[in-house]
Amino acid sequence: MNYLLHPLILVTFFPLLGSLALLFIKPEKKNTIRWVALITSLLTFIFSLLMLAQFNANNPNIQMEIDNPWINVAGWNINFHIGVDGLSILLILLTTLLTPISILSTWTAIDKRVKDFMIFFLLLETGMIGVFIALDLFLFYVFWEFTLVPMYLLIGIWGGPRRIYAAIKFFLYTMAGSILMLLAILWLGIRQGTFSVPELIASGANIPVYIQIWLFLAFAAAFAIKVPMWPLHSWLPDAHVQAPTAGSVILAGVMLKMGTYGFLRFNIPMFPNAAIKLAPWMALFAVIGILYGAAVSYAQKDVKKLVAYSSVSHLGFVMLGLFALNPQGIQGGILQMVNHGLSTGALFLLVGMIYERRHTRDMDAFGGLWKAMPVYGALTLIVTLSSMGLPGLNGFVGEFTILLGSFGSKAIGSPWFAGFAAIGVILAAVYLLFMFQKLFLGPLDKEENKILKDLNAREIITMVPLLILIFWIGLYPKPFFALMAPAVDKLVAALQTAATIAMH
């Protein structure tokens, strides 16, 4: 019975409970369904705050751990092993925050098959949180792969005109990487005799380096596609553009972070020597992604596509920070994961709001919107500035810390990577301001745009929590860094030990 009230169990499985409850509501009662889903996700958010209250930020180790035997027969050693530490807690909170916001954003946007939508959405939340709390590779893989199914259905049923193509591409692309990771998981499970992540981390440095590199690459196949790292990003524009708004928010806000989190939780600590060896390469691909994503964003006419490609660029920063393999870089990387979730999530919400009104996302169809929709314009301006890293807003803190970390990183070995990444910051300003200008400035010359209604109360409510956090992190990031710092320091210390052992 104790387990049922355990904060992590509650946070993870409460949405599942909500989706089961939805099964018993008649599909015609759309509003009831929406309210049940919203309340479920809000309660989940409250549970996640309770989890935060119990979390001891000074403790670098796994907390609120549950480690129960699950499949311990026939030579298997699979446990139901979950827990939270400084690396994962912010991402769990991000997930539980973005889910109710997304559900609220669908209030009028999703009108067909509301019941199915909400069921899949809540299932997706359980899957995503499961990914962040799993400390057993088998359990992790179950959650990881499971998230594909509801997201695939969300894109495929409620998406845009090319939704089926986008959904299948999303599924196959991500599964291609995952199954290679599955083989590596099996190899580890057989050779090391355990699927427990902490145990594998403890014994990781003992694996010969060339095998570590193979395992690193197999795991990286799954994570790099998810992030997505250049050149494995081609599923992302399709999936993002075709997905319904709420799907895009979750996809960009949380699911991409599952990839970067994977690198942080598994690749770097489990195969430390390989991580150190491959860090310059990862940094190279990250920087190419930053510049490529920015350049392609600039070329887009579709606002949603622009935002989608900007994710490639922003996630490049996260990867660069993580593979700096020093405390600043990794802390910046984690914070930037959260920042990207907030800013890009907010951007997708804003794009969704205008799409709902005009049913187009072509930038040429707009112009001068500020006059028609001042509140909308002001909110978009703040979010745009946050996304391009204006000091005082959240994006700046993350990117600056990452650049600082990667500039002095021994693992990457050259300050040039940080130098080129800094160009990406400038490019981000270019394409984002270009977008803002196209939408909001200039004459309000299109008849359809003159009659647009400004945001209603519900839409403003969806934005408020994101804006608060954008300012909070921008002005006073200390509590956020404090949550992750001990865990990051522990990770970096373990890396250094592994490196020195390998040298002798």
Binding site: V142, F146, L153, A167, L172, L180
Partner: protein, 479 residues
């Protein structure tokens, strides 16, 4: 005949006698409903006796049969499949106008052949079992006569079945020539004493492998499968896809793992190539299918490849038991998923072979959400996406392969399951993302089967430990 002899074949005897009795009753009473119920009772009673044989480890008739946990496990799968087949068939046969009592009798005879296969420990008994299980299936495949497809299916199955039977007999003859015995324990002893003619034995073993490869539909011996699966009545196909396959693998595992591990040097490369080919061809050709029965036929070929993959490392004594239990677990997970999928096919199928195109599934997601959800679960399970039985099955299977050191084959296995994701997901796409006005047959037993298998697919994947435990205790007796 001693008591042990009698005990070892007791469930089999019960089933065969019961089948004869039901045949007579059916002829004189002409009441199909009664026949259905009696058959179900017979299967349940036999199932009870089979379960009671667990852990007994009997041998009978001078080592010609052996009842170990391996056999018990498989017998339970066979009898369970029989019960599920009845629940699918009884309404289906009526609907298609082919409700004849022989169906149930033939089903019981076929199951008894499968049970004999599971306990066989002598090559002659294997052949006997092969024929006993196949001949009723030939008739069942043609059961929807005078529909041409069904007659063609029966004929084709019979011809190729007889052909493959020839391979088995010839292989047995050569093995006998090489070792002077047909008894598996005798063969193992001869090899151990270095009194066997190894080249001749290898050729014989390879021929036996070929013969059973026909039965389990391994590429390049799969040609009959799509036509037979397509032409046979769906309830028969559902049963055949599990029963015949499981029986074929039972024979392969018993003969190769228990009696001929010493030949692994020669046989393993053959199995490697067969498994790889089967997974590649089965999955790629399935992509091109627009008829659900043909698609499931190719999918069953592909799954035979996955199971065969477990046998690649059969010669390594440390891995062999893991391989066998992985294959057994996979058979069970495939059986559950497969029956579920066929139950949905039967629900959508109309008379005259209508309602079998993939396009006929359009709009099911909206109109029949429960049925669509079940089908989606089965498709995801076939693909191997967690949390489904298919995923757990593949997980254990790939473990056996990686444990044996065949990483290349494992990579082929996962890449082909990626291909399979494409055509399994297409069913989901059509059900949920296309509009249509499907008509679906709703009948209590059919719905019950669908619901039961769908729930089992999810729940057993989360609580797979007891089944895995059971499968891992289902070890072959060694000779």
């Amino acid at each position: 005949m001693t008591t042990t002899d009698l005990l070892s074949v007791f469930p089999l005897l019960i089933l065969i006698l019961w089948a004869c009795l039901v045949l007579l009753l059916d002829v004189f009473l002409k009441r199909e409903r009664l026949t259905t119920i009696l058959t179900a009772i017979g299967l349940v009673v036999t199932l009870g006796f089979s379960i009671s044989q667990n852990n007994l480890n009997l041998t009978g008739f001078n080592n010609m049969v052996v009842v170990d946990n391996f056999a018990v496990y498989l017998n339970i799968i066979f009898l369970g499949s029989g019960l599920l087949a009845i629940s699918l068939a009884h309404d289906y046969l009526k609907r298609m106008g082919i409700n004849r009592g022989e169906f149930y009798v033939l089903l019981m005879f076929s199951i008894s052949g499968m049970m004999l296969m599971a306990i066989a420990a002598d090559l002659i008994v294997f052949f006997l079992a092969l024929e006993l299980l196949s001949i009723p299936l030939y008739v069942l495949a043609a059961f929807a006569r005078p529909r041409v497809e069904s007659e063609e299916a029966g004929m084709k199955y019979f011809l190729l079945g007889a052909f493959s039977g020839g391979f088995v007999v010839y292989g047995i003859a050569l093995v006998f020539g090489a070792t002077a015995t047909t008894n598996l324990s005798g063969i193992a002893a001869r090899i151990a004493e270095h009194q066997a003619d190894i080249p001749l034995l290898t050729i014989g073993a390879a021929l036996i492998l070929v013969g059973f490869s026909f039965k389990v539909a391994v590429v390049p011996f799969q040609m009959w499968t799509p036509d037979v699966y397509h032409g046979a009545p769906s309830a028969v196909t559902a049963f055949m896809a599990i029963g015949a396959k499981a029986a074929g693998f039972a024979a392969l595992m018993r003969i190769f793992v228990a009696a001929l591990p010493t030949l692994s040097e020669q046989i393993t490369p053959i199995i490697w190539v067969l498994a790889a080919l089967t997974m590649i061809v089965g999955n790629i050709v399935a992509v091109a299918q627009s008829n659900i029965k043909r698609m499931l036929a190719y999918s069953s070929i592909a799954h035979a490849g996955y199971i065969l993959m477990a046998l690649v490392s059969y010669g390594q004594s440390s891995v062999a038991s893991v391989s066998v239990s992985a294959a057994l677990f996979y058979l069970l997970s495939y059986a559950v998923t497969n029956f579920g999928a066929w139950a949905v096919v039967i629900a959508v199928e109309k008379a005259e072979g209508k309602g079998l195109a993939l396009d006929d599934y359009a709009g099911i997601g909206r109109k029949y959400p429960a049925l669509a959800a079940a089908m989606a679960i089965f498709m995801l399970s076939f693909t191997g996406v967690p949390p489904t039985l298919g995923f757990v099955g593949k997980f254990y299977l790939f473990r056996a392969v990686i444990d044996g050191g065949y990483i290349g084959l494992a990579v082929i296995g996962v890449l082909t399951s990626l291909i399979s994701a494409f055509y399994y997901l297409r069913v989901v796409v059509i059900m949920y993302m296309r509009d249509g006005e499907p008509e679906v047959r709703s009948e209590p037993w059919l719905n019950l089967t669908t619901a039961f298998t769908a729930i089992a697919t999810i729940v057993l994947s989360i609580f797979s430990a007891p089944i895995l435990q059971w499968a891992s205790q289902a070890i072959l007796s060694t000779f």
